[in-house]
Symmetry: C2
Subunit: 239 residues, 2 copies
DNA sequence: GCTCGATGCGTATCGCATACGCAATAGGGG
DNA sequence: CCCCTATTGCGTATGCGATACGCATCGAGC
């Protein structure tokens, strides 16, 4: 038996258009759009139902006429912020396509860092999000592998993208709340002898470098390594 | 000027032993240990100050005599659950050592899945956690690279481990709340034509396979690819 | 035994998610 | 054309979590 799960219908069903009753003063699109804007600016922690209602000039409880609960709102936010998957060009083989896919995924995650906090929760993926997976599979479809193996590879690359994005966002958040990753942390507690290699790193830390570029380069570099590894292993499987 | 930030002292300072006053009925160790046990069983969402106090047979506010706030508690939980970094044997080169390091990291994350939810928040790392980084750097120290570059590589591998663990935990959580990743999701909404490759995957999904083993293999495989890539790029840099 | 730095914790505040119910609204069948 | 009813807006209320505050109490050293 399939349970109703109203949230799934919001993601997958057709938009509801009621026949009778007062005209709705809000719309799912407006609610979700404003929620995404709030989360972009203040993170998921800054997104509250009263706060969202205030931005929409509505009563708090009015929101619940449109969504069953906050969890469903977040699912819809993910679906909206994700956007449509890029159309990949696989004519040059899987590697350029998968590279493009990975970079596009990273761009989305960095544009909406709160997504890194919420994609973990148990939830149902929407059509847009599955569209991204489908495109990833399409990039890999030129490899003569069982579908399940291609799926593994798509998740592998996706996991890499997430992990590195998480690392970057985390690092930036820590840096924003004050200098922490400095030699002083260790010397002040007399622990510098326990972390000789970290001391080296901290001392050479270029705090003045433009953070974004370095992160992009680090990401691209790691991605190339990962794809190199895939290629040496599966390169011969090209159709 | 360095601000006080009491949480940092809890992580890095010496254990406080008060001279006067009533004997403390609780201890940091007991509080943090019980908190980790709760989070292991119920996730961070299941960890509340009143709930924790109840397990400890204490009043809720008593906890605040030991920790400044919940955030600091979580920092301490991470530090405790992380455990001591494994001593790596680098005599066979960087690759076996780094492999061991990555697997050990993964083991910790899967033993305490809530860590994946909280490592993102802006926080200060403790000595144990930095010890892991130090060990990762030690594995890479046999490569003749600038310290910063070795640091990048350590974060790269760490990011990969996190990303894949996140993916696995997320997938398991979704699966636990009912079948979702099935062809029916698509066919029920008449969208099967939009996701031909996903349909293939869903149809071949072996729901009966032992999940853990498959995930371990997938992780190990991806890690090998990543290290392969690093090796082909930096292999010549061995000291 | 007095003092003063601690501790245990009841009480209170504040913010959040969300259930419930009532009043206002408006398309459509009679 | 009007009333019926599905529907909306939202005030009010509940319950829970984090945490500030203050009081009663404790106990090591004088």
């Amino acid at each position: 038996m399939s349970e109703p799960r109203p949230g799934v219908e919001l993601l997958w069903g057709a938009p509801r258009t009621p026949a009778r009753g007062p005209r709705p003063g809000l719309s799912l699109e407006r609610i979700v759009g404003e929620a995404v804007a709030i989360a972009d600016a203040a993170g998921v922690a800054g997104l509250t139902m009263p706060g969202l209602a205030r931005r929409l000039d509505a009563g708090t409880m009015s929101l619940y006429r449109y969504i069953p609960g906050k969890d469903d709102l977040i699912s819809l936010m993910i679906e909206t912020a994700t956007g449509d998957a890029p159309r990949l060009d696989v004519s040059d083989g899987w590697r350029p396509a998968l590279t493009h896919w990975a970079h596009a995924t990273r761009t989305v995650l960095l544009a909406h860092p709160w997504m890194l906090d919420v994609v973990t929760s148990p939830r149902v993926m929407g059509p847009r999000e599955l569209g991204w997976l489908e495109e990833g599979l399409r990039a890999l479809s030129v490899l003569a592998l069982p579908p399940m193996r291609r799926f593994d590879l798509a998740l592998l690359v996706n996991g890499y993208v997430r992990g590195v994005a998480l690392e970057q966002v985390h690092g930036e958040a820590v840096a924003a709340q004050g200098p922490f990753f400095t030699p002083e942390l260790l010397t002040e507690h007399g622990r510098e002898a326990d972390f000789p290699l970290l001391m080296e790193v901290m001392e050479s830390f270029p705090f003045d470098a433009p953070a974004g570029d370095g992160e992009d380069a680090r990401f691209a570099f790691g991605l190339e390594r990962l794809l190199d590894g895939i290629e040496t292993h599966f390169g011969g499987a090209a159709v």
